[in-house]
Symmetry: C2
Subunit: 149 residues, 2 copies
Amino acid sequence: MANEATSVGPPWFDAWRGIIFANAKVFREVERKLEEHSGISLAFLDALSRLYDAPGGRLRMQDLQARSLFTHSGMTRVVDRIEAVGLVRRESVPGDRRGVSVLITEKGKRLYEESIVRHQVDIEEAFARRLTPAQHKAVADALSQFWQG
Amino acid sequence: MANEATSVGPPWFDAWRGIIFANAKVFREVERKLEEHSGISLAFLDALSRLYDAPGGRLRMQDLQARSLFTHSGMTRVVDRIEAVGLVRRESVPGDRRGVSVLITEKGKRLYEESIVRHQVDIEEAFARRLTPAQHKAVADALSQFWQG
DNA sequence: GGGCGAATATTGTCACAGCAAATACTGTCC
DNA sequence: GGACAGTATTTGCTGTGACAATATTCGCCC
């Protein structure tokens, strides 16, 4: 009647399905909480994080793009919105008038420092707490190749 | 200078980051390929899959929603679009005039059978091939809790 | 059997990601 | 030194997911 093969699937199927569901569920939950307690989206927090960690709190658009999950065109708009609420500021790049660098403001730093702490608690509740330390390591080892390089 | 703590992060951080990136990268790549060779989105394939495996090739909207990654409101529109290209058909539920059940058409079955084979190859290339069998199992074991229940 | 809260599905509206085209500038080739 | 290919970023457009509000029907309770 139904298709047994697709119900059970190849040996890697459960791994893939686990990733999809874990991502979807945890992502949705922590984003909702982040919005609640800090008033920003995960895209904002992600960008702020890259800038906060960058030397001088400053990064060019293309570097910001390369480090994030958003594509090329997406980043322009993300920065538009973060800039509109005063968490970052655009500056021209000396020596290359095509370039734009993005600088995190003091307000942005303060917000980042506050929200990242709560955000980590959120991820711990929605994700980390449900796995053993050995499982954390196993998953990290298996998947690190996807963000390294 | 930069914040060491957030660069390195808590012990589970790499596991979580791995999930996000693996999901984003693999998802994007296989969706692009699916669109190319079969002309449908992953949302379509997912819905077709649930219907194909359901007894009678038929499922109520709410059951379809519950089994998918898309929320409530999304499913109405997904079915709208799949129906528009003739892969599924809406039917009224006998005995409950609020209800709508969705039925996969012959055309839908054929397309599903063809595209799922290619899709599995795509996932194998983008994901499965990069992990060892032991890693598949480890990831599946750690993350199965997110889709079971 | 009429009223009322719950369930089912759809629709309105908004925000945002993705892609391609446009814009602005750089460096180089001849 | 002017044309031209390449680079950096933005903008226009479209599709689609999220959420709230709506319409319709059901089950129940009195």
